[in-house]
């Protein structure tokens, strides 16, 4: 379909660059979009897809953080998009991942929101155009036309609240195509929330739209959908365009490999097998675990964790990898069975999990991990004090009154501050004032104070700078090697997992896709992360 020589692209991006406070997230991105083309944009989380779309759609977050560099051309003319309103005027529409619909309004009202068709009445003639009445029959005619184009047969006067999710997605699209000069439509992971049959219908509708001359930018994690509908495919990784291919050239494996790539060299040495004894003894056995964590649901995972290993849990955001540790630690409602050394652990009870010598460093550091308005020492000892009754002394010799033992607490905190190199003004500094990396160390110190057999660490390097990242990862390896601690590390950064883990379990759609060796090929990783064939897995569960 693309005809290069006809020159006139609907949308062209030239050398787009974007920095967030010194951190480069987009670097020299070029993109060309023909009329009626479906252009797929794929990449891992944090590859820069959303930032690129925010630039195209003129989202305020871009202007507020210093704008972008490079040129955007529409129909061959250089333009500057500063607000979403301008983007709409230029004929760019966006179908959002989260529905932006008014639940109490009817379908027609939603489609025509802020673009209502108006007619004069007596009052408006006197007092001005703000008092014009809505021309409801005309609005409904338009709405019906747009719905029909998408192959929807639904009463346009129904309220949106209570409609199936699939319908809402179509209403969003109907709203966009109802705009008269619509040229480019951006679909941001439109099938993420849809059932399979609905997704097929949506892909069908996309093809129809493209045939009518509307160009589509299609962002998705589902690689088979890309293969099914896209004319051209651009792959982003770490803010750079790493590949572009046409429909004919593309294969699942090729996209998967480009998407994952090798990001960091394996500088950090994988745990030395002679020192840390990874035995075949099972430390933790998970049987058919489901976790109801909003946005990160686990739907039936069975997994054995060996004593003394570092097990990585990877996968794309929203696929459930974070839910696993949260479920086992009792923070979100879960069902299933978890055995530690053959003993069943009571679920949905954080106290029981901690009493069983499990400890957790949460991915939500500021939300769950820390008491921000309390001192470092309080943070470090709190959990241990409450559950294991350490750091307590009787009051005037009366055992019933358990008082905090300030001397012990201070000594313990200072030991960890030294050992983990927590940069602070002292043990009494509030954790709110610490940097991300040091906050993370406080969280780890708190977990270590519990003297756990098994340590869960979620997103240990999120939001901390590169130097601190390495320190935290080194620390985990050290704990594993020197103390033989079993560590289960969840991370969105595959490179990080591959640099420290012994095995890596990949989660997709709440289910375990397979367990890979850190040395396995990028293709295998890419495919498992995208929930694709199990042929390539080394260990099929």
């Amino acid at each position: 379909m693309p005809k290069e020589n006809e020159a006139q692209y609907v949308l062209e991006l030239r050398n787009i660059e974007k920095e967030y406070s010194g951190n480069r997230v987009l670097n020299g991105i070029n993109l060309k979009l023909n009329p009626g083309e479906i252009h797929a944009l794929v990449g891992e989380n944090g590859a820069g897809k959303s930032t690129l779309m925010n630039i195209i759609f003129g989202m305020p977050v871009i202007q507020n953080t210093g704008g972008y560099k490079g040129e955007i051309l529409i129909d061959g003319e250089v333009i500057e998009i500063k607000t979403p309103n301008e983007a709409i005027k230029f004929g760019i529409g966006m179908v959002h991942q989260e529905f932006m619909l008014m639940p109490g309004f009817t379908i027609t009202e939603n489609i025509k929101l802020n673009r209502e068709i108006l007619k004069d009445n007596t009052v408006s003639k006197v007092l001005g155009p703000l008092l014009k009445t809505l021309d409801i029959p005309a609005m409904r005619r338009d709405a019906n036309k747009a719905l029909k184009e998408l192959g929807m047969t639904v009463d346009d006067w129904l309220p949106v609240a209570g409609l199936p999710v699939g319908y809402m997605q179509f209403i969003e699209i109907a709203r966009e195509i109802d705009k008269e000069n619509m040229k480019v439509l951006v679909f941001d992971e439109p099938t993420a929330v849809l059932a399979e049959s609905e997704a097929e219908k949506l892909l069908e509708a996309m093809k129809n739209l493209a045939n009518k001359g509307i160009s589509i930018i299609f962002i998705t994690h589902r690689l088979d959908e890309v293969i099914a509908v896209a004319d051209n495919i651009t792959v982003l990784r770490d803010g750079e365009k790493v590949g572009e291919m046409t429909k004919e050239e593309a294969t699942l494996e090729k996209i998967a490999q480009m998407m994952v790539g090798r990001k960091i060299d394996r500088i950090e040495k994988v745990c030395n097998k002679d020192v840390c004894k990874t035995s075949d003894e099972v430390a933790l056995s998970i049987k058919n675990l489901t976790v109801h964590m909003p946005g990160e649901t686990i739907r039936g995972v069975s997994l054995d964790i060996k004593k003394g290993e570092i097990l990585g849990i990877g996968g794309l955001a929203g696929q459930g990898k974070v839910g696993l540790a949260n479920g086992i630690m009792g923070l979100y409602r879960s069902t299933g069975e978890v055995y530690k050394n053959g003993q069943l652990i009571e679920l949905n009870n954080p106290r029981k999990s901690i009493e069983n010598k499990l400890a957790f460093v949460s991915e939500d550091r500021r939300g769950i991990g820390l008491l921000l308005d309390n001192s470092i020492e309080t943070n470090i000892v709190m959990t241990s004090m409450q559950i294991q009754e350490k750091f307590l002394k009787p009051l005037f010799g009366i055992k019933a009154f358990k008082m905090m033992d300030n001397r012990l607490i201070r000594e313990h905190a200072e030991k960890y501050i030294k050992e983990l190199d927590i940069r602070c003004t002292g043990a009494t500094q509030y954790t709110r004032r610490l940097s991300g990396g040091n906050q993370q160390k406080v969280c780890i110190a708190r977990a270590l104070t519990l003297e756990p057999d098994i340590l869960f660490v979620s997103e240990p390097t999120r939001g901390i700078d590169i130097g601190a990242k390495k320190l935290v990862l080194d620390l985990l390896v050290k704990l594993n090697v020197e103390h033989g601690m079993t560590i289960i590390m969840t991370s969105s950064e595959l490179g990080e997992l591959r640099s420290v883990c012994d095995r890596i379990a990949l989660i997709y759609d709440g289910k375990l896709q397979g367990i890979l060796d850190p040395q396995d090929s990028d293709v295998d990783y890419g495919l498992l992360m995208a929930g694709k064939p199990r042929l390539h897995t080394k260990e099929v569960i």
Partner: protein, 347 residues
């Protein structure tokens, strides 16, 4: 100078600094108006002692995460009820006071437990719900005071012989028994050492409690409920403990207040008293999430001295009619409003 100002604001927070400056201004004016400065200070001390425990009552509930206890009036009613019972039992002097305290505690515990059930259901709206809960209970007890079958002629209306009076004089009962305990007279002005000592003991007990295992759990539940839950702490239980403690201190507080004031005030009297206590602790540098004994003491000193000193000073400036009373209300509520809007800021 600029630097000093900035550091003072950072260290103590806006409300404390501004209120202290206003207080200093009032004192200077008082000197110019040739008023009895020592008298003023002693009046302030009496007021501080009077209100002390009511302000202390705000600490446990703020720390446990339910915010300032706007429903403290409920605890005060428990105390007032216990005071009336002790008079009905025809007790006199120190025993009357301690029996009143002794009776008030179980009542306040039960009331606190019931109220905390409500608190735990309206997480995030405790302050608004608490305010109206306080109003409702005060109104309900307006009927209650009429119906409870007290017989003592000191308390019931002279005509009809039924229902309690608006204010019940304590002279001959436990009027100023704590104030007079070991008091010092300074140029004809009394310093209520006994009450201040009692307040110090209460502060020490609360401080000890905060250093205990349960106190630490409460601190965690108040700072970050999700952290607390993940550490196996029962957040609702900690909030309940905080609320009950606050109610008990409220009940003790109003008895101490009554003995110093000389009257038990019933009916709508407790309606606005929680606001006074809350503004005192907020001026002391507490926020709706964090409070300490230090906040209580400094807040009490600044807020109560402000009220005690502003009245005679403004009287001196505006001698006509009851304008001074109007100005006093403006000052008092202005301070409350200011403290609420600027809550926090100090560490």
């Amino acid at each position: 100078m600029n630097n000093l100002w900035k550091r003072a604001i950072e260290r103590f927070g806006h409300p404390k600094v501004y209120c202290t400056l206003f207080l200093a201004l009032l004192l200077i004016t008082a000197v110019f108006l040739k008023q009895n400065i020592i008298g003023l200070i002693c009046t302030a001390l009496v007021r501080i002692a009077q209100n002390s425990i009511l302000v202390l009552a705000m600490v446990p509930c703020i720390i446990s995460g339910t915010g300032p206890n706007f429903a403290l009036s409920i605890g005060m009613i428990c105390g007032a009820l216990a005071g009336c019972i002790s008079i009905e039992m025809n007790l006199v002097g120190m025993p009357a006071l301690f029996v009143a305290l002794f009776i008030s505690i179980p009542i306040a515990i039960i009331v606190g437990l019931v109220y905390s059930v409500l608190q735990n259901r309206v997480k995030g709206d405790e302050m608004t719900v608490g305010t109206y809960m306080g109003y409702s209970i005060v109104s309900l007890m307006c009927i209650g005071w009429l119906l409870i079958p007290f017989k003592s002629p000191e308390m019931v209306w002279a005509i009809g012989g039924k229902g309690l009076r608006n204010t019940i004089a304590l002279s001959g009962r436990f009027d100023k028994v704590l104030d007079k305990l070991g008091n010092i007279t300074l140029m004809g002005n009394v310093i209520p050492v006994g009450t201040l000592l009692f307040f110090a003991i209460c502060c020490y007990l609360v401080w000890l409690f905060l250093r205990s295992k349960t106190g630490a759990a409460m601190l965690a539940a108040g700072d970050n409920p999700r952290f607390a839950a993940a550490s196996g702490i029962n957040v609702d239980r900690q909030r309940t403990i905080g609320t009950v403690l606050s109610m008990v201190l409220g009940a003790i507080g109003i008895i101490v207040y009554s003995q110093s004031y000389g009257f038990i005030q019933l009916y709508t009297a407790p309606l606005y008293m929680p606001f006074l206590a809350i503004s005192a602790i907020l001026i002391g540098g507490a926020s709706i999430k964090k409070a300490s004994i230090g906040n209580v003491i400094s807040g009490l000193i600044i807020f109560q001295s402000l009220l005690a000193i502003s009245l005679p000073v403004i009287n001196g400036l505006l001698p006509t009619g009851n304008l001074s009373e109007v100005v006093r209300i403006i000052v008092q509520n202005g301070v409350i409003l200011y403290a609420l809007t600027k809550a926090g800021g100090a560490e």
